[in-house]
Symmetry: C2
Subunit: 171 residues, 2 copies
DNA sequence: TGTACATCAGTGAACGCGCGTTCACTGATGTAC
DNA sequence: TGTACATCAGTGAACGCGCGTTCACTGATGTAC
């Protein structure tokens, strides 16, 4: 039978809960400032169980980033920036694009991690160009850069008038 | 006499050394991953002396960001993006614009810190518009967003062909 | 179907280490007379 | 000018705490016969 038994099913669910909790907390406070204890509590488990699911905190971080990356894949290319620069997206970093939430952290990540991300970015951009309305690669890269930069700046200035202006600066 | 005596002069120099060392290390590894010991060693002092200069690590971080922010102020508005997106700037985060190096960290900083930064950003942007070649505020914001976003993405993808493409995506 | 044993997800306490911070002390610089 | 005392930048060891990780144990689930 390919059906998982009860134990395996439960373990898989626990793993999913940990990933979800970690994603939320990483988005809110960053991976460095998020403890295993905190993650596991949010997932409804205790700290010790963590290592039955992940080899180390480092491995968890990789996994979370990896799964969070293609979040905006399905948005049409010409709608992308507009969709990205929403107040909704700005105000909920816990469920947001990791390029904006963790961009500077990713820039400091080790080479292996950065290469993995680069590969995925390449795929996403190629897909966007292919399906987009005659968009050049250069335009696609500029769009993504603008979106990520404006989102970060809108978050930094959140609470001042400048923040909304950053969200509208693409128009 | 307004001349400082030898002690005060030396203390001022030590403070400057600490700030410089911290700026470099924060740029390279981020403030979270940088220890007081490390900073003080680089400054040629020992850990204990730190608290004669700064109330806490938190206060040092604020000071460093504050002083690093207007680094690009003097570049002419229409040259700004081009100047910003250089390989030199990408490859030396230790002496780079903190918006790119620490953008996501700043987005997570506390409200007080973010408001201080916002105020300075406002000033810088207003100055840019005033002196620039008929640039609208929206264009200035879009330029800054593009520059910061592309720099972060170029750093993440550094080591792959995509990185240079991000640096050239503004053309 | 029932019984005895094996497996394994999760518990919770403990360990070790790093890091921010404190503090008694030192020695050079500054001040009073 | 010299002497005695005060000040203070910096030292270096220690403290306390949080956090990543380990591990002996538990109890429910799965397996063999």
């Amino acid at each position: 039978m390919t059906a998982l038994n009860q134990r395996a099913k439960q373990k898989q669910q626990s793993r999913a809960k940990i990933l979800k909790a970690a994603g939320t907390l990483f988005g809110k406070n960053g991976p460095q400032a998020t403890g295993i204890d905190q993650i596991m509590k949010k997932a409804g488990l205790t700290a010790g169980a963590f290592y039955a699911h992940f080899k180390s905190k480092e491995h968890l971080i990789e996994e979370v980033l990896w799964s969070a990356l293609p979040a905006h894949q399905r948005v049409a290319a010409d709608e992308f920036v507009k969709h990205y620069l929403s107040t909704e997206h700005r105000d909920h970093p816990e469920s947001a694009c990791p390029l904006a939430t963790l961009g500077s952290d990713l820039a400091r990540a080790d080479r292996r991690m950065r290469l993995r991300i680069s590969k995925k970015l390449n795929e996403l951009i190629d897909a966007r160009i292919a399906t987009g309305t005659r968009m050049t690669k250069k335009e696609a890269l500029a769009n993504l850069s603008l979106a990520v930069g404006a989102m970060i700046l809108a978050r930094i200035t959140n609470g001042t008038p400048l923040s909304d202006e950053f969200l509208r600066c693409h128009e």
